[in-house]
């Protein structure tokens, strides 16, 4: 009842408005109670019907500033960090310890891990389903990334540097601070 009233009263208006602005209909739909949501009503919203002959120039409209850390930029940032970590790790494993390389490792790898964990949290702790946990984990991730960078910086400045440090741990059985022991096979 209501639907047919709407149809009777608004359709000719929409048609008249559209015709006035030069829009042509392909063909009028046959009247049917199942087709009350007329596409005709939506067709009228074109730049011309909205603005008449004074359609604004799209270039003149101020664009929304896109964040350099989001969307495709974020994806490219991730790749950039991954690509950066390749020569750093290669240097550490092939050449060995170098103070500049160690410092860079202590910055780039935590960022890489941070971005990776961000993706994991996005997948498994979706904010709508886990409103509190996702928030807690987000800030926990920021905190531990900061702590990790701090720890790496301390290893680099007060100890033997990241490469040598983990090399010593790795070869703990073989060497005790560079001195081979009887345990060495």
């Amino acid at each position: 009842m209501v639907a047919s009233l709407v149809k009777l009263t608004t359709l000719p208006n929409a048609r008249r408005a559209a015709l006035a602005t030069g829009i042509r209909f392909a063909r009028q739909q046959p009247a049917s109670p199942l087709h009350t949501a007329r596409p005709l009503l939506f067709k009228a919203t074109t730049p011309k019907t909205l603005f008449g002959d004074n359609v604004p120039n799209p270039d003149a409209v101020p664009q929304q500033q896109v964040s350099r850390t989001k969307g495709t930029y974020h994806w490219m940032n991730e790749r950039a960090v991954s690509v950066l970590s390749v020569p750093l790790l290669a240097t550490a494993f092939i050449y060995g310890s170098h103070p500049i390389n160690d410092m860079l490792l202590g910055i780039v790898l935590p960022i890489h891990a941070y971005m990776g964990f961000q993706q994991v949290l996005l997948d498994y702790f979706e904010a709508r389903r886990w409103p509190v946990i996702s928030r807690v984990l987000k800030y926990a991730l920021v905190t531990i990334t900061g702590l990790s960078m701090f720890g790496a910086w301390r290893i680099n400045t007060t100890d033997v540097g990241l490469t040598n440090y983990f090399s010593r741990l790795w070869n703990a059985k073989k060497t005790q601070a560079g001195v081979y022991t009887a345990d060495d096979e």
């Binding site: 701090f150 440090y165 703990a172 601070a177």
Partner: protein, 176 residues
């Protein structure tokens, strides 16, 4: 669903008052209260609970394990493992002076030297395997990101290359 639950043996004879049933927090106790069946409120509460316990759609386990997606999953798991361990360790190093723990290279190495050999080898194999796999597969991903090697054949070939390189690197780092 509601009627199905009440019909299939969930109905209890106990007459639990509404407020106590709610305090008990069990849908069963609530449903079992006959005088409160099918009220709008009860339906809303049950719907709310059902929303929180919705089943997960079948996903990974319904697919045949294939190198294309299995390696992708392993890539994430190895990354989380290595990065998580490194995170915890370096963060602990940063906080060590606060708790009066000595994590200097000499102290930590001598602690590790006391760990039984097989345990250490197992840990080293796990860490070096994870790290080398993540590195090699990461290179593979970077190559994919440039649009190369994305054919079925290319994916499998590079997958075998990564697995071979991982095996070699893991063996070398663990035993030499």
């Amino acid at each position: 669903m509601f009627s199905a639950v009440t019909r299939t043996g969930m109905l209890s004879t106990s007459r639990v008052p509404l407020n106590r049933a709610l305090a008990a927090g069990t849908a069963r106790a609530f449903i079992a209260t006959p005088q409160h069946r099918r009220t709008e409120e009860s339906q809303a509460i049950i719907a709310e609970r059902a929303k929180k316990n919705r089943p997960v759609s079948p996903h990974l386990s319904i697919y045949q394990p294939q190198m294309s997606w299995v390696l992708s999953g392993i890539h994430r798991n190895t990354g989380v493992l290595v990065a998580g361990a490194a995170y915890l360790y370096t963060a602990a190093y940063g906080l060590a002076p606060v708790f009066g723990v000595d994590l200097s290279s000499l102290a930590a190495a001598s602690t590790l030297a006391a760990v039984p050999g097989p345990v250490l080898i197992a840990v080293k194999a796990l860490v070096s395997g994870s790290l080398s796999f993540h590195c090699f597969n990461g290179l593979r991903h970077l190559i994919w990101d440039t649009g190369r090697g994305l054919s079925n054949k290319g994916v499998f070939r590079s997958g075998y290359v990564v697995l071979t390189a991982t095996a070699l690197a893991t063996g070398y780092l663990t035993f030499f």
